[in-house]
Symmetry: C2
Subunit: 208 residues, 2 copies
């Protein structure tokens, strides 16, 4: 009886661990359920709002006009209250910001894989979603209301940003979205306009 | 005494879970220790060989010449025996492969973040490594030895690829690397030539 009790505790704690790690991403618990893949706009907004980083792509004049991807953190708003537009905190010490100041053409790519909701599916499998927002990477006027929104959005999701070195001259940028490419199931990219994406209402109770 | 025993079992199983999840990436155990950041070539090779996916960038003529990033799986060789050159399994149903057949200029970006070795560090913090390999995205001749190498490398790391639909005409591509941008600590990108990167010997016992 005593052995069984000990075994029950062991099982209980294993289950606890399993549930905790299944639903967390580096310590962050998902708080909005994944929308159904057919609801392209809500799914795209979920993918962007639940992600904390992606690859920001610019044209590199230093590398013969090659596309240059760079890992960056981002935020589209307060947690669980994203607006769909990705904001960034960049320094021209890094090629991405200096590329964008010469040529605004850009895209931003996010994978569902690091969120932890793809299960054992391969990252390139169409059921593990991916989104690429293409548009113009724009510097935000430091004294604008939008800069204030970007700061709150970014520093809330990425608390260490507020302590990044002043002399690196970090500035706020945003991607002005012109085209959306998203695959979140079989059958090719989902038709989705920028207007549909930006104006969908997120349903916090949507269930996959 | 009995309560203490049960508590010990509970603690033991928590420790087990913690150690297991700290060192695993979606069920994959890391088998090569992370090199010291000063050893740029070994670090870059470790980052590429331990990763399973990244963002592959091409120039999109359909989107006004914008850089177009796309989430893809890749492999640079058998597990723990990578050669540094990323191979891909792509279909021209997807924009990336068709872009590359028109304009080979490309880059491939990988973050250390999903490997799980950045701890609580922000994905944009320079101590959470990132690498961008820039070069030419090339289709591999289907009947070559290199295609055979690419197939073994990819299908070993991504077992589901061998069952992907025949009628999608997946083909093997590789990135012919011309430039390397890597940040893996404070102080800006690490100086690293393609020759140093490709010809470094991986030390399986290197310790961070």
């Amino acid at each position: 009886m005593k052995t069984k009790g000990v075994f029950d505790y062991f099982l209980l704690s294993l289950v606890f661990c399993f549930v905790f790690f299944q639903n967390s991403v580096h310590g962050r618990l998902l708080s909005i359920s994944k929308p159904h893949p057919d609801n392209a706009a809500a799914f795209a907004r979920w993918l962007v709002s639940q992600s904390s980083w992606g690859v920001l792509n610019t044209i590199s004049s230093d590398l013969g006009g090659s596309p240059f991807g760079n890992v960056v953190s981002f935020s589209d708003g307060l947690p669980d209250d994203g607006r769909g537009i990705p904001y960034f905190y960049l320094t021209t010490l890094d090629p991405t910001a200096s590329n964008a100041l010469k040529d605004q053409r850009s895209s931003f790519t996010v994978s569902e894989y690091p969120i932890g909701t793809c299960g054992k599916t391969d990252p390139e499998n169409p059921t593990c979603a991916k989104i690429t927002l293409t548009g113009k990477l724009q510097l935000i006027d430091d004294n604008s209301d939008e800069a204030e929104f970007a700061q709150t959005a970014l520093f809330t999701k990425h608390p260490e940003m507020k302590d990044w070195p002043m002399d690196h001259n970090f500035q706020f940028f945003k991607l002005e979205i012109e085209d959306i490419f998203m695959i979140n199931w079989f059958g090719g990219p989902k038709p989705l306009t920028v207007d549909q994406y930006l104006h969908t209402k997120m349903n916090k109770l949507s269930i996959m």
